[in-house]
Symmetry: C2
Subunit: 129 residues, 2 copies
């Protein structure tokens, strides 16, 4: 990895693929990834890890299937939220968004359990920028 | 912790103390902390963990004592940088800044080794917001 700071807006400008995270930093065995998103991701769950989201631009919604039922959280620009491990969730962004995520290195974008993955969703553990 | 998203600008508006991180989210055994900073922190090192920085507002500089010598990285708004474990560093922000950090829960703000801690620097592992 680079040993110089990375400006996230500049990093986001280097790619256009949606739902295809790029690693911008590491913290011990965790990756910090950024992604451009629009439309719907897929219902999935990470059985062994929480997943942290920060919205850099636009608005992200995350549908959650919790024991009490299904609900949706709405993250405006500059909002943070952690999806707890094991919780089925489906991120989506009707108007598009740029997001930052923190999760263990090697965590697949579609989790350990998921619905059929549509063609526009990249199944990846996040290549480096 | 709350199970609703937290808007970072609103979270930052709830406190004024400088160099005194507040935990806004957890990711497994890691904390996501935010802080308002201005002036100088203290030279310190974390022997067992990297430390991730994202600048939310303003500009942060981090002086680093690396094997090749001392240098300073400058993080403008929206820039990210990870200080590797073991590297002595001193964050400072001549004009003030708001920052987000990711590190293992329980990591003290002044690391495992540090210079004398000035009164304006809070020695904490980050209380919840």
């Amino acid at each position: 990895m680079t040993t110089e700071p990375i400006v996230l807006t500049e990093a986001l400008a280097t790619f256009d693929t949606l739902w295809s995270p790029r690693i911008v930093a590491r913290v011990n065995a965790y990756d910090v990834r950024i992604a451009k998103v629009a439309g719907e991701h897929v219902w999935h769950a990470h059985d062994h890890t929480d997943e942290f989201f920060l919205v850099l631009d636009g608005e992200l919604r995350i549908a959650l299937r919790e024991p009490a039922g299904e609900r949706t959280v709405r993250l405006t620009k500059g909002a943070v939220f952690t999806v707890p491990r094991g919780v089925e969730h489906r991120p989506y962004a009707p108007e598009g968004a740029a997001i930052l995520m923190v999760e263990p290195s090697g965590t697949p974008t579609v989790g350990d359990r998921h619905d059929a993955v549509p063609g526009h969703v990249d199944v990846t553990t996040g290549p480096r920028l």
